[in-house]
Symmetry: C2
Subunit: 429 residues, 2 copies
Amino acid sequence: MTKEQNKILIQGAILNGKVSDLLIEGNRIKTIAENIPKEEGMQVIDGKGRAIVPGMHNCHTHSAMTIYRGFGDDLKLMDWLENWIWPVEAVMTEEDVYWGSKLACLEMIKSGTTAFLDMYTFPLCTAQAVEDMGMRAVLSYTLFDRGDEKRAKLDREQCYTYMEKYKHFSDRVEYSLGPHAIYTVSGPQLQFCHEFSQENDVLIHLHLSETEGEVKDSIKNYGLSPVRYLDKLRVLSPNLVIAHGVWLDEEEMDLLAKHNVKVVHNPASNLKLASGYRFQYEEMKKRGILIGIGTDGCSSSNNLDMYTAMKLAAFMGKAWRFDPTAMKAEDIFETATKSGAEIMRIDAGEIKEGKLADLVLVNLNRPEMLPCHNLISNLVYSAAGAAIVDTTIVDGKVLMLHGKVDGEDEIMEKASKCAYDMLKRANKA
Amino acid sequence: MTKEQNKILIQGAILNGKVSDLLIEGNRIKTIAENIPKEEGMQVIDGKGRAIVPGMHNCHTHSAMTIYRGFGDDLKLMDWLENWIWPVEAVMTEEDVYWGSKLACLEMIKSGTTAFLDMYTFPLCTAQAVEDMGMRAVLSYTLFDRGDEKRAKLDREQCYTYMEKYKHFSDRVEYSLGPHAIYTVSGPQLQFCHEFSQENDVLIHLHLSETEGEVKDSIKNYGLSPVRYLDKLRVLSPNLVIAHGVWLDEEEMDLLAKHNVKVVHNPASNLKLASGYRFQYEEMKKRGILIGIGTDGCSSSNNLDMYTAMKLAAFMGKAWRFDPTAMKAEDIFETATKSGAEIMRIDAGEIKEGKLADLVLVNLNRPEMLPCHNLISNLVYSAAGAAIVDTTIVDGKVLMLHGKVDGEDEIMEKASKCAYDMLKRANKA
């Protein structure tokens, strides 16, 4: 069956407060109407007691790190990296990344996420996992040289090699560059990334201004705070997506706005790693900065549930400014869906005719979803994606139907085995 | 069948990292062993792929407020109370409280909570709901006079009347007094509660030191901060359970410790209402203060999922002090289970032979629960109770088996109808 022939009819679901049908043709939403006649060959999905909502767009994660979930919590950063993560990452294989990424896709599909922006090692393995699972992702080739010019040169070459390799995947898989951070990638290398990004029109995915220590080091080493340093390097651009951004000052936010840089808020890891909790959502919004939400990787956050991320973002956004009217539910929901899609350049994130059919049915017949005075409030403040997501559709294809994903038992088993074997190899089991 | 005859055998579950059987006889855990022979008349529950964990003890909620979920979010406190909550509470009926409480019990059972400490209007309706649902609860008669001596006198009489009425319920339902707060209940009335509590050995459940405004008002009106004011009234005692306590100073914590007062942390409502986020967990622990966790009511928090509450407590506890080693997973899990049970004087909260059979099976075969490097970490940092809880047992009786609670559809339907009708009566629909 070609994409053009694929037809899915969702009947009797709740959409914008009303009972509605929705027809998918190929990979796009064709029609939204009260009663759409069923035709032969259509796959019919019962939407009764369910609401249609856009898929979540997870704008920052390291998906394969699912296999580190619960390994090394409650530690100081350097203790965690040096004694827990790095010794294990040293023995990590392509297979580990493939199955770890598949477990991540499974968790995201089951909690209502349809697309994600990733950065990790062996990104071709993650690409294959995304391809096989039917999700959508922008995957970054990670540049990480720590001043080693031989590694830096190899990284530059690999940027091209990987870009070619990504052309073999479907258009659900997009390529991007992932210079890790300003303390692990040199200035000239960041400038190379910028030029590469301009020439090939790919995104750049960079950790920035995550901790107060990073800002202090930046001032010490480069004489400038992180965003000012990037501005001096002339690498601020609309293609740049920075993850974290919890230690920005007013002038830095002005610079980000001026160059249309995107910012991804990762509340779970910012809180759990105690990196910083005063994410300046309102201050950035006001300047017109496009903000997305991310879960970060499971070694720091420890799940990939964007509904949890929305809740944390909203709660913290109110708490630190002692203002319960800040970070409203509708706002944060749009940030996690529509804005996230825009950051990843995906024509989805809204339920509208003509948009890509990346959407989710959520179960309304659960105690935590009732009464339904306000669906968006229930989604943001009450629900966990893992508990309410019933059906997930990406690119017009059903990835989960009424709670079941094809092959999920095998994925859970294989990913767990990879995780335990990996710890054994690293003598950490 | 009498309680003595009731026998439940859980086979092949994970307990303390090993595969184990667990036998319940009557309402207590009788035996924990590798292989317990099945006898005639035993109810057998398949524990494969599931872990046995203690039930959560939700130490502060207003359960019937489920029917306000999502009604009036993102508002300033007085706007919310005066224009949203109070006009509707004025038309609230006993039936609303009964079905709202049943919906709350359903939500708690489905997310792994076995007992809760409540404070709300029509507490006999909540008691009936708890009785009917099979849960365990300590329910407070709310005293709330705002200086009206007629109401205060009625409240004092009702304390006795209600205590008598509670004797008709099973021993799963315990009585307590709930003077609302120091700004709604007079000093003499608090002293009456204290004496009543001493004479009848019941708990006192009081909102205290929830907002900075409350502290300032206390100093203005009584010349003392809230805990000092209670100390002056001589009402600090081991029977006193204070909810919130986010604005305590060192000397106040010393006073609470000296009098063995219990403190309940409600991270979700403290964040969402922007009341205060610096809960001084370590400072209280160090003094030997017994701390519990609560969800607060659904009009402020907006769910009753104690797993979410644990996550918020741990994340925020690390974040505000910029210390990722604070509020460790094991610690917060014990606080939500064992300490909570101790506060409510329930002989549960641990899986041990002889303890009450108030326990939960959680599903380990979910992506967010894998790999299982550390079960407690997965429970606290990754899981939502609503997604992972498989079976809930209270007082040796199965309230939920493999995701199903008897009569759940009726509860969801009736509670929702009460909610919508209530808003119509208040002209708020």
